[in-house]
C-alpha cells in the first residue's frame, strides 16, 4: 500500500515523539524525581500512532494505565503530560491523577484509568452517546491482553454488537498481564477470537508495523462510521520496558519474568526502526531529514520537562477542589 509522504512522516514523527517522551522519564524515575507509578509504552508506539493518525479530532478515545502514547497520538499536549507525571498543577489532570489519569477532552482524549478493563464500558457509553446523537463519531477503547480476564469486556462486546455501536476494541497484546505470561492466564492465546461469538468483525494485526496498524485502523474506522457496528483489533506487540517503571523484567533481575532472548528478538522488530528502514529504502525521506526530526523532538521533550520543572505543585488548600463540580 502506498501512502502519501505527509501520512508516513506524521506516523514516524508521532512514534518518535512517544519514544523520546517515554525514555526521557527514565532518568528522573531512577533519581526519584518522578514518584508516581509510570507504565512506559516503549516498543508499542505503532499502535497509538497508527490509530491516532486515522481518527478525527472529534472522535473519542479511552486509555488505561499505559496510555502516554494514546494521549500524545490523539493530540494531547506533551508539556501537560510531563507536568502531570511530576504531580504539578499545570498537568493535564492538575496533578490529581498522575501518569495513569490522562485526559484532554478538547482533542477527544476522554480519560484513562488503571482498573483493568474499567474504561471499556466507558468507551461503550461514549459510543452509545454518539449513536443516540447521530454525531458520526468513532470511539476507540485501548486495553491490554490482561483485560481479557475481566467479564465486563464480554458484556461490552455483546452490547456494542447488539446496538451496532461505533466502537473499536483495540487490544494491545504484549503477551504479559503485569507479571504473568499469557500462557498462564488464557487457555487459548488467540485473543482475536473473543469477538467472533458476538459477530464482531475481528482481526489480528502486527502491532509493530505501523503501516499495517494504519491500514486496519482505516478499515475499522470506516466500518464504524458507516454504522456497521464495532470492530475488534488485536495488535501483537511487546513492551521493551517492564510492566511499571524502567525495569525491563528480565529473568535474573529481581522481577525475574522475561527471557533475555525473547526481549532481544522483539528488539529486532522495533517499530520505529522498521518504519525508518521503510522510509529510507523507498526514498521517501533521507537520513538527514530523519535526524532533523530527532533533534526537533528532543528539543520538544526537553522543553516539556522545563515547563514541568518550572510549574508549581498544587496548593495544599486546594486539596478538595474538583471532588464535586459546581
Amino acid at each position: 500500500m502506498d501512502y502519501p509522504k505527509e501520512v508516513l512522516t506524521r506516523l514516524y514523527q508521532t512514534m518518535l515523539r512517544i519514544r523520546y517522551c517515554e525514555e526521557s522519564l527514565v532518568p528522573p524515575i531512577l533519581k526519584g524525581e518522578i514518584r508516581c507509578p509510570v507504565h512506559l509504552c516503549t516498543g508499542q508506539e505503532a499502535v497509538a500512532a497508527g490509530i491516532g493518525a486515522v481518527l478525527e479530532k472529534k472522535d473519542y478515545i479511552f486509555g488505561n494505565h499505559r496510555s502516554h502514547g494514546h494521549y500524545l497520538a490523539k493530540g494531547g499536549g506533551m508539556p501537560e503530560l510531563i507536568a502531570e507525571i511530576y504531580g504539578k498543577e499545570t498537568g493535564c489532570s492538575k496533578g490529581r491523577g498522575g501518569s495513569m489519569h490522562l485526559i484532554d477532552p478538547q482533542v477527544g482524549m476522554l480519560g484513562s484509568a488503571p482498573i483493568v478493563a474499567g474504561t471499556i464500558p466507558l468507551a461503550l457509553g461514549a459510543a452509545l452517546a454518539s449513536s443516540i446523537r447521530r454525531d458520526n463519531r468513532v470511539t476507540v477503547s485501548f486495553f491490554g491482553d490482561g483485560a481479557t480476564g475481566e467479564g465486563v469486556l464480554y458484556e461490552s462486546l455483546n452490547f456494542a454488537a447488539l446496538k451496532k455501536l461505533p466502537l473499536i476494541f483495540a487490544c494491545e497484546n504484549n503477551f504479559y498481564s503485569t507479571h504473568l505470561p499469557i500462557e498462564e492466564i488464557r487457555v487459548n492465546n488467540r485473543i482475536c477470537g473473543i469477538g467472533k461469538p458476538f459477530g464482531v468483525k475481528s482481526f489480528t494485526v502486527d502491532g509493530n508495523d505501523v503501516l499495517e496498524v494504519y491500514e486496519y485502523a482505516q478499515k475499522a474506522v470506516a466500518h464504524c462510521r458507516k454504522g456497521e457496528g464495532p470492530v475488534f483489533l488485536e495488535f501483537l506487540t511487546y513492551r521493551m520496558r517492564g510492566h511499571v517503571g524502567p525495569d525491563d523484567n528480565v529473568q535474573g533481575s529481581h522481577t525475574d519474568i522475561r527471557p533475555k532472548h525473547e526481549i532481544e528478538e522483539w528488539r529486532k522488530k522495533d517499530p520505529i526502526k522498521r518504519i525508518e528502514q521503510y522510509l529510507l529504502r523507498n526514498e521517501i525521506l533521507v537520513k538527514k531529514e530523519l535526524l532533523v526530526f530527532h533533534e526537533q523532538i528532543r528539543q520538544e521533550v526537553d522543553a516539556a520537562h522545563v515547563f514541568a520543572s518550572n510549574s508549581p505543585y498544587p496548593r495544599k488548600e486546594d486539596i478538595d477542589s474538583y471532588v464535586f463540580l459546581k
Partner: protein, 330 residues
C-alpha cells in the same frame, strides 16, 4: 393553569420528573433493566418508551457492570444518563463504574470532565424476597467521596430530587423504596427541583428529635401521632439527602430538643445512624440530655419467612419505644 393541589403517587411523581426532564433536555436518557416493564419498575417509566423511543429509553441485557459503565461513559461524553437498577442488590455488579470511575472521575482528572449521571437503585424489601432482593445500600455509597446520595420520602421530593439529580453535574445515587410507591401527596404539575443537601422538618416538636430518611420518615410520622396522644411532641426531621448531609438542620433541631432518635432502614454497624450520631457527638454533645438511640436493621441479612421479616424491619412501634427510652434516660 397549573393546579396547586393535585395529588400524585410517589411512583408517578418519579415518572413525571423523568418525562419532563427528557422533554426539556434531549441529552437526558434512561437505561437499565426493565425500563419497559411495569413488572420491574411499577409505573415509574410509564409512557416514556412510547414518547421518547427506544434510543432514549433503553432496556438492557443483564449486564450491570457494562450498562452502568456505559451510562458513566455517555455522561463523560456529554449526555445526562439515568441508569436504573430495579433491585439495588444487583448494583453490586456495578461497583467499579460507580465507585472507581464515576465517583473519582472529576477529581482524578482535575475537574476536566464531569459525570452528570443518576444511578437509580430501588429497594425491594418485604414479600419474603430474602437477602438478595431487599438490601438498602445507602450507607455504602455515602461512604464514597464524589458521590451524592438522595432518598426521598414523599411524592413531592421524589419528583423534585429526581429533577435535581438529573440536573446535577456530579454522579447522584437516587434510592427509592417500593414501600413508598403508593403513598400520595401534593405534587405541582410544573417542573421544580428540591435542592440536594437540604433536609426538612416534617413535624415540629419540642421533646425529642427523630431523624429519619426514606420509608422510615413515614414510620416516624406514624410514631409522632401515637406519641402525641401521650403528650410527647416529637420533631420529625427528614434528611431527604444522605450525602451531603444537612447537619445544620439536624443540629438546630437537636439543640432545641436535646434528645435524639435516629430511624434508618439500613444496618446499624457503620451505617447512616452511626454517622449521624458521630456528627452530633463531635459537634454538639453538650446539648444532649441523654444518649442517642438508634432504630436500624440488625446486623443480619434480610430473612425470607414472614414471621422473621416482621421481626427484622423496624416500624413506628420501635420508634415509639425508642423515644420513650430516650425520655426516661434524661
Amino acid at each position: 393553569m397549573y393546579s396547586s393541589n393535585r395529588k400524585l403517587s410517589y411512583s408517578l411523581a418519579i415518572n413525571e420528573a423523568l418525562y419532563q426532564m427528557m422533554e426539556l433536555d434531549e441529552t437526558v436518557f434512561l437505561i437499565g433493566q426493565g425500563v419497559k416493564s411495569p413488572w420491574y419498575v411499577g409505573n415509574t417509566t410509564r409512557g416514556l418508551l412510547e414518547t421518547f423511543g427506544s434510543e432514549r429509553v433503553i432496556d438492557t441485557p443483564v449486564s450491570e457492570n457494562a450498562m452502568t459503565g456505559a451510562a458513566v461513559g455517555s455522561a463523560i461524553a456529554g449526555m445526562r444518563a439515568v441508569v436504573l437498577h430495579p433491585r439495588m442488590d444487583f448494583m453490586m455488579y456495578a461497583l467499579d463504574p460507580i465507585i472507581n470511575e464515576a465517583a473519582n472521575w472529576s477529581y482524578m482528572n482535575g475537574g476536566k470532565a464531569s459525570v452528570p449521571i443518576v444511578i437509580w437503585g430501588i429497594i425491594n424489601r418485604g414479600g419474603e424476597q430474602a437477602a438478595q432482593h431487599s438490601q438498602s445500600m445507602h450507607a455504602l455509597f455515602s461512604h464514597i467521596p464524589g458521590l451524592k446520595v438522595v432518598m426521598p420520602a414523599t411524592s413531592y421530593d421524589a419528583k423534585g430530587l429526581m429533577v435535581s439529580a438529573i440536573q446535577d453535574k456530579n454522579p447522584v445515587i437516587f434510592i427509592d423504596d417500593r414501600w413508598l410507591y403508593n403513598i400520595e401527596d401534593v405534587v405541582p404539575e410544573e417542573l421544580y427541583s428540591v435542592q440536594i443537601g437540604k433536609g426538612v422538618i416534617r413535624k415540629e416538636g419540642k421533646d425529642v428529635t427523630v431523624l429519619a430518611t426514606s420509608y422510615m420518615v413515614q414510620e416516624a410520622l406514624k410514631a409522632a401521632s401515637i406519641l402525641e396522644n401521650e403528650n410527647v411532641a416529637a420533631e420529625i426531621v427528614d434528611l431527604r439527602t444522605v450525602k451531603p448531609m444537612d447537619t445544620e438542620l439536624i443540629f438546630e433541631s437537636v439543640k432545641k430538643t436535646g434528645r435524639v432518635v435516629i430511624a434508618d432502614g439500613g444496618w446499624k454497624t457503620c451505617g447512616l445512624s452511626a454517622e449521624i450520631s458521630a456528627q452530633i457527638s463531635e459537634n454538639i454533645l453538650e446539648y444532649l440530655k441523654s444518649p442517642v438511640v438508634r432504630v436500624a436493621l440488625p446486623d443480619i441479612p434480610a430473612p425470607a419467612s414472614q414471621p422473621l421479616e416482621k421481626e427484622y424491619y423496624p416500624t413506628c412501634n420501635n420508634i415509639v419505644n425508642a423515644v420513650k427510652n430516650v425520655l426516661l434516660t434524661g
